[in-house]
């Protein structure tokens, strides 16, 4: 799916293929929504080329400013771009129902499993891996914008976002609003 005339993408997947990817990635990736979105980006943009960078950026950016769980909004947006309403509902359902059912089951049996040493050890391994997923996600997100003309602007926006989040404890929406204003005013990318 290309909405910005960028690099060619492969034909939109069928509903079964779409469901398979969102089921696997949406329900089995540890490390929170950012890690899961990163895994989806890698799958949809880099491996399967169903979405180009522009379509991904559109879905990702709008999901970040949609109330609620950003990951589910991203899944809905990607599904809608690839298969319309059917795709949006399908990706939303397959990315949410199994994971929610797991949370429900874990809650119901929390006292039993939480004291199991081997369950804890397995989770520790998955969480360590999720740190790597988040770092890979950061690189995959930023890499397309580090071209010769864009890198200064990109570096300033990323650094400002990190600084505002870490040192000024600003919530994500104000940080994104500041980034958006910087993007609007900094016209360096117009020719790219």
């Amino acid at each position: 799916m290309s909405i910005t005339g960028q690099a060619a993408t492969k034909p939109a997947p069928g509903l079964t293929q779409l469901a398979g990817v969102f089921f696997r990635i949406g329900n089995f990736t540890f490390g929170g929504g950012a890690a899961t979105t990163a895994a989806l980006q890698r799958e949809l943009v880099h491996k399967r080329r169903w979405l180009d960078e522009g379509a991904f950026a559109l879905s990702y950016a709008l999901a970040r400013v949609t109330p609620g769980t950003n990951l589910l909004a991203f899944c809905t947006a990607a599904g809608w771009l690839l298969q319309g309403w059917r795709g949006a509902l399908l990706t939303l359902l397959v990315a949410s129902i199994p994971a929610c059912a797991l949370v429900w089951l874990v809650t119901a049996g929390f006292d039993t499993w939480s004291s199991n040493r081997w369950v804890q050890t397995g989770i520790e391994g998955a969480l360590a891996s999720s740190v790597g997923i988040l770092l890979a996600s950061f690189w995959l997100l930023v890499r397309p914008y580090l071209t010769a003309r864009k890198w200064k602007r990109s570096a300033v926006i990323v650094s400002a976002s990190i600084g505002l989040s870490l040192y000024f404890d600003l919530a994500p929406i104000p940080v994104l609003a500041i980034a958006a204003v910087m993007g609007l005013l900094w016209k360096e990318t117009e020719h790219l």
Binding site: T29, Y60, A61, L72, V131, L134, S154, S161
Partner: protein
Amino acid sequence: MSFFALYLLLLKATLSSFSGLAALPILRDDLVVQRHLLTDRQLNTALAIGRVTPGPKGLYIISVGYYAAGFRGASAAWLALVSPALLVIPLLEFAGRKANDARVKRVLQAVVLGSAGISLSATLPLGADALHNALSYGLAGGSMLLLVFTEVETIAVIAAATAVNLIVSLVASGLVRPA
């Protein structure tokens, strides 16, 4: 409390947040302080469960719903979780028509870059919590390299990290002896 009333309470929390745990103060005020449907301990347990299960951290709201009203509450929480996601479609309809406008492109790129910065900031506390020995650093570094430089499935990387951690712990505990 009826299913619909609980759904509306949980929806109020999900609609008023834009990231993982931002709905927490509203949930605590509505369900713990005002209506006594769950305790602070249960709320903390729900957060812990959201932290160690796959998917977004916001799924802790399923545990909150379960503690408040059993399976019915968990179902209301699921509905409250997925409802706001549909709001992205009218946004896409509007922004998609302007996706080739240079200003819109610049704004979208900047939001993606800003999000990347926010995500990296959020990685630091997760790293401080999850990385505490050479093996965990190795698993994180190895996972990152595999994901950036190879086509290996993400789920396979996570499964491998889980298995390696278990095997090393089993060997260290003496339950399994290396060949």
